[in-house]
């Protein structure tokens, strides 16, 4: 039996786990379910000994596990099958399997004999492993099998699968579930991290739901339905806000059967139709990876819809864009606060004289923004990378609102922020709506969406589903 007792873990101001307790029994498949950022991965890292919790304890077969020492946890029989594989691409399948059995840096290696046991297990599970093929040439499904075999070649008692189906085709996933059931029946503890409701319902025996670091509920799978799990994942839904706002204006954004390609050439957004009027917030919900980024980038103009005329944005000003990943897309971390504010300001004619920047004016202007949006910083010259996440996001938000945009595209604008900073961003969005901005709020946070949106639709595999009933789609999306 593996027990988690009152475990808490913070990352800076963010509470990843808040007094979480759970019990995992041998001979059962336990699913740990939750949205992105709910704390699933943190919990698993604690279980496998990668992270030491600030509070609480993990007890395995009567003794506390040595937190912070993953190698010793492995020796106890706790194995993790990572989402990102830990195989050596240039090795053959056989050599990778042997590697798991090679304990010392300098020792005799005989891949053939050392991989024998793992290959026997593979045969028992009904897998045919091409032992002499280079790992990099194997399909991901087979690579994952190698990863599982590596874990099994020890005396694994606990197997933790981190979103294992993320890279698999439906048939491969089905086969994985078959193997998971076999391993369960041999008396092991299996833990499956997931955010797809359908697969949890089909393979798990027990389910534990995390939401914002809190263990919301644990129950046998027979006691729950998809609807109940969805509600546990996203929280109680306030009544949908259907009142039509009186001061809505003309449509500023109009998508008429817009399709957008993703980075790999796949159709990330498929034939969506919507319009966003002046003075309204249009919420786009859904699990990450269902076309959010592509939709946002198409609206901002960073990505072209397949048909040019399928998207019309009517505004004389720049579109205000709050990108999803502030550290990657929102900010240049190595530059100063002033220079990051200037990312929108550089197009502002008040701050320019021909090709030249009006440096004194810009300094004054950035001081004003820092004050107005109460950004906590030593001053305009401080480097952005030394600010907290909330203050970094305030820089992005303040420079967008400073330009008084008529169209705003905000993607997960409060992800990772504490309550106060979240409130600040929400207040800014609402006041922009009051003055007549058309706002697309693309978010995975359902509370945020229902609280702010005038209309709400969900993205599911690139398609847009409107209104009630779309909630059941939440867990069905493709993984991020």
């Amino acid at each position: 039996m593996l027990e988690v007792k009152g475990v808490s873990k913070h990352f800076g101001a963010l509470c990843a786990l808040d007094h979480v307790s759970a019990t995992f029994l041998p001979g059962r498949i336990h699913a740990v379910l939750g949205e992105n950022g709910a704390g699933k991965s943190t919990l698993m890292s604690v279980l496998a000994g990668f992270l030491v919790p600030e509070q609480g304890d993990v007890v395995f077969e009567g003794t506390s596990i040595p937190g912070g020492r993953p190698a010793e946890c492995q020796r106890l029989g706790i194995e993790m099958i990572h989402q990102h594989f830990t195989l050596v691409p240039a090795f053959t399948a056989e050599e990778n399997l042997a590697l798991a059995r090679t304990s010392q840096l300098v020792s005799k290696v005989d891949p053939r004999s050392q991989s024998l046991e793992a290959l026997e297990i593979a045969a028992k599970l009904g897998w045919d492993i091409p032992r002499n093929q280079r790992t990099s040439e194997l399909p991901v499904g087979v690579q994952q099998r190698l990863e599982i075999l590596k874990a099994l070649s020890g005396s694994a008692k606990v197997l933790i699968f981190d979103e294992p189906t993320a890279v698999l085709s439906p048939e491969e996933a089905e086969d994985l579930f078959r193997v998971m059931r076999t391993l369960r029946d041999e008396g092991r503890i299996l833990i499956l991290i997931a955010h797809k409701l359908s697969e949890v319902l089909s393979v798990a025996d027990e389910v534990t739901v995390l939401r914002r670091g809190i263990n919301v509920a644990s129950a046998p799978i027979t006691d729950v339905t998809a609807q109940i799990l969805a509600e546990w994942m996203v929280g109680d839904l306030p009544p949908m806000h259907t009142e039509k706002r009186a001061n809505r204006g003309a449509a500023r954004v109009r998508a008429t059967g817009m399709s957008v390609l993703g980075d790999r050439g796949e159709t990330a957004i498929r034939d969506v139709k919507f319009e966003i009027r002046a003075g309204e917030i249009y919420g786009f919900g859904g699990v990450d990876g269902n076309g959010q980024i592509e939709l946002a980038e198409a609206l901002v103009g960073l990505r072209r819809p397949i048909r040019q005329d399928s998207l019309a944005v009517e505004t004389d000003r720049d579109i205000g864009y709050i990108p999803q990943d502030r550290q990657h897309d929102g900010l240049a971390l190595e530059l100063s606060v002033r220079e990051n504010l200037l990312l929108t300001g550089v197009r502002d004619h008040r701050l320019r004289r021909g090709p030249f920047l009006r440096l004194r004016k810009i300094q004054e202007w950035s001081r004003k923004l820092i004050q107005k949006f109460s950004i906590k910083t030593e001053g305009p010259d401080q480097l952005v990378k030394s600010l907290s996440g909330g203050n970094q996001q305030k820089i992005v938000v303040s420079r967008v609102f400073d330009q008084v945009p008529e169209v705003i595209i905000a993607v997960n604008p409060t992800r990772g922020l504490d309550i106060k900073a979240t409130h600040f961003v929400h207040a800014q969005l609402l006041s922009a709506r009051e003055r007549g901005a058309a706002i697309a709020l693309i978010s995975t946070d359902l509370d945020e969406l229902t609280q702010l949106s005038d209309r709400l639709a969900f993205l599911s595999r690139g398609e847009l589903v409107e209104g009630e009933g779309s909630l059941a789609l939440l867990g069905e999306g493709s993984p991020s």
């Binding site: 901002v300 864009y321 530059l335 440096l359």
Partner: protein, 348 residues
Amino acid sequence: MKKVLSSGIGAVAGLALVMFFLVLTFMIFGQPVGASLKAMYVGSVADWNAWSKTLVKMTPLILTGLGAGVAWRAGMYNIGGEGQFILGGVGSAWLAKMVVFPNLALGGLTLPALLLASMAGGAVWSGIAAWLYLKRGVDVVIGTILLNFIAKYLIEWTINGPLQEAKHQLPQSDALPQAAMLMRFDRQHDANIGVFIAVIVAVGIAICLFATASGYRLRVVGASPSAARANLIPSQRVQMMAMLLSGALCGLAGGLDYVGVSGQIGIGFSQQWGFLGIPVALLGGLHPLGILASGAFFGMLFAGSEQMARSSAVGTTLIYVVQAAVVLAVVFARGIERKVLPQVEAEP
């Protein structure tokens, strides 16, 4: 204030390290430390004779340093300063062959035209590397390094072929007539007004980087390509422009060497000036004014080491050892600085 202080500490630490490496090199080679240091002083700043050598050396160092700095700021790691320097020389020598030697009267426009030709030569060379990267995905470092080799052979071909002297004896071009060269301060020394051009260009680049919208965009592209993209800055165009400017600066260094000092191109046209631009740029913190200072500093060290070699038994090979030791010391110092003082990446 903090920044000034920290870059001050960095500079002092760097200087101390350079001294340490110098002394160490002298000891390893069995040279008298005191006398060698004195020779370095005498050779670099003791009198006008020494100063003129320092000025001649710092001119190309500043310009190739600026060239490296501008490209690196935009995230384009241009290692091809050497090739661009050579192409700069070839560019102006070619134009000289076209207009100066046939006695076509361009009057006061001759020198500016020769220098423009050198910038064009350098820019073509860096432009090829930039194009290969942006359109064909060839890594900038690899592309520019390989173009250095091609430049070496290209200049050898030109001085044995189309640009060879009229007598067709030696692999070199005809020497420019004195009248077509940059003004010197006096007849006895090589020092010329090229050094003013380098200083003016450094100030110009500083203004461009920190006080214009284009320079700002260049720095954003270098600091975060993804943030640049999200804010609709055309990264590819910015990086292409940065590389062209970088190559033009390195080419200008070659052009100034041609019209200011050598007056002709030959086998040993560049003495690694393009490569040395990289440590100059690093020591200068990729800041144009810092590069100006570090270019001057390297100029002194190189002039001094020549004098020292002349007065020692080991001879000229020691110059290269000392110069290499200095470059290593500088890069090493920057590394330490970055660890100890992470906020030292100073902006004005």
